[in-house]
């Protein structure tokens, strides 16, 4: 795992076809796509399941809403799904692997690399300075400049 990647893995007690369905059908996505406290109404979800097709979700929370606009880059049922969010260049790849006993391992790899930050030194610098900035921020927030 490099600095600019986030990887999430989870083994689900469900067959791969069913997991795939959940990840690709709006009626299923509406059940779980939003994190806690966030709803994703089914009519706000667009899935055009082919490379180049649209993938959009509207997440509505108590303090605001966020519209994810993405384009599928890979659609290989039922094992691989990838999309890119053009505004940030963030690339998300999901792989579904069959495990024994009707289980399915899902690995989400997220490269959140905006176009302007493709160069390795920019990426490393970005993450390092975010750490530093975080420290500065904590000081600032505690200070009197709020």
């Amino acid at each position: 795992m490099s600095d600019d990647e986030l990887v999430y893995e989870r083994v689900f007690h469900a067959p791969r076809e069913l997991v795939w369905r959940c990840l690709t059908q709006p009626t299923e996505l509406a059940h779980f796509w939003g994190p806690r406290g966030i709803v994703t109404p089914v009519d706000g979800i667009v899935v055009e399941l082919r490379p180049g097709g649209r993938f959009e979700t509207l997440m509505v929370g108590p303090h605001g809403s966020y519209r994810m606009v993405a384009t599928f880059t890979e659609v290989v049922p039922p094992e691989r799904l990838a999309w890119v969010e053009p505004s940030t260049g963030m690339h998300t790849v999901s792989t579904l692997d069959e495990r024994g006993g009707g289980r399915t391992a899902v690995v989400i790899t997220q490269r959140h690399v905006p176009e302007a930050m493709r160069r390795p030194e920019a990426r490393a610098g970005f993450l390092t300075s975010l750490d530093k900035l975080d420290e500065h921020l904590h000081l600032l927030m505690q200070g009197d400049r709020s």
Binding site: G34, S87, T88, P114, L133, L137, L140
Partner: protein, 115 residues
């Protein structure tokens, strides 16, 4: 998700933060406001070059400029910076909670027959 994040805003934010000099300007401003002249001296850059960086930072919402006609001191806007810093953490949390909910949903689908 406490702030409504416009994707263009996020894009402007990350573009602003993708340059080393601009990141350094932010760190500098976190110690206190500064004028273009003061920043130009620090970086051995022309006022014009610094102004261009400041323009990008201002457009992203990371800094604001004072009204004083001559100096227009630059000030850090901690709210936007906090948004950028928290973004990676927010992404992590989003996926963790999403997986939790998918797990629950899959269990429900399988135990009750597929509704």
């Amino acid at each position: 998700m406490e702030v409504t994040v416009d994707e263009q805003q996020l894009d402007a934010l990350f573009t602003a933060l993708s340059d080393r000099t601009r990141r350094d300007i932010i760190v500098r401003l976190s110690a206190g406001d500064a004028t273009v002249k003061e920043l130009a001296e620090r970086y051995a850059m022309s006022m014009q070059a610094v102004s261009q960086h400041l323009h990008v930072l201002e457009r992203s919402g990371l800094i604001s400029r004072g009204r004083h006609r001559q100096t227009r001191p630059c000030r850090l806007e901690p709210g936007m910076l906090k948004l950028a810093v928290s973004w990676i953490e927010a992404s992590r949390r989003t996926w963790t909670e999403r997986m939790d909910r998918l797990e629950t949903h899959l269990a429900r689908l399988q135990e009750g027959g597929e509704r």
